[in-house]
Symmetry: C2
Subunit: 111 residues, 2 copies
DNA sequence: ATAGTTTATCGCAAATATACGATTAGAATT
DNA sequence: AATTCTAATCGTATATTTGCGATAAACTAT
């Protein structure tokens, strides 16, 4: 429960890492694209977004490092897709996070 | 569906803003504290976390600016709590986001 | 071999984020 | 009025992020 004098807790670090990966509109857009298609090359993403190829590539790198996506080489292209295991872990972390609030338990959700 | 040459979509910007607010372990920890208690003063947070008061205050400011939390002045203290409306909006944005993946629809969730 | 296609990386500039000591501001108490 | 308590803000240093043009790297096709 309590913190050591120097560290945060494992789940908080993990969740912050996923949140950081999603903390830019371009990366949200990229992940949405990947989630909605079962195939997606870098070039298609570049066409879809209002930013340069180098910038897209950089965002893809960050998403890969977060673990949320992965890239399969299919010369001369690279096919990107969701990384299922980490995706599910992130989903669970966030779901539990939102649920934990007393609001989620006591308030009627208007959906 | 498609982007203008300059802009991202509204929901992506909103969601990125919430994600950014949660992109640091200290802020996750703070929000968890607020979500689990129905009363929380800044001082209690400072005691709980391994960072200085000035830093906590800065994180609180960012969380307030994201809309996820709010502070009620109760002289000489300030009582922080979740901001219900934005909290629910964020919850919905993220829930839909994770759900939208084909993985969530086809894979068996081990919970 | 040469040329073309696709994506990553480099180098740089500007902007943001993180952390903290010191100070300030607002209110209550003495 | 002076003191105490709580929290915000200032100032500063350091690190990270964002964006892009230019270039490189890997592979295909001619």
């Amino acid at each position: 429960m309590a913190y050591t004098s120097t560290d945060y807790m494992e789940d908080e670090i993990r969740m912050a890492r996923y949140a950081k990966a999603l903390s830019h509109p371009a990366r949200i857009a990229i992940v949405k694209l990947l989630a909605s298609m079962d195939t997606c090359f870098c070039g298609e993403i570049v066409e879809e977004l209002p930013i340069a190829q180098a910038t897209v590539s950089q965002h893809l790198k960050e998403l890969k490092e977060s673990g949320l996506i992965q890239g399969c080489i299919e010369p001369p292209k690279i096919r990107y897709c969701i990384e299922p295991e980490n995706w599910n872990q992130a989903q669970k972390l966030f779901t539990d996070f939102w649920e934990q609030s007393y609001l989620s338990k006591t308030e009627t959700q208007k959906v």
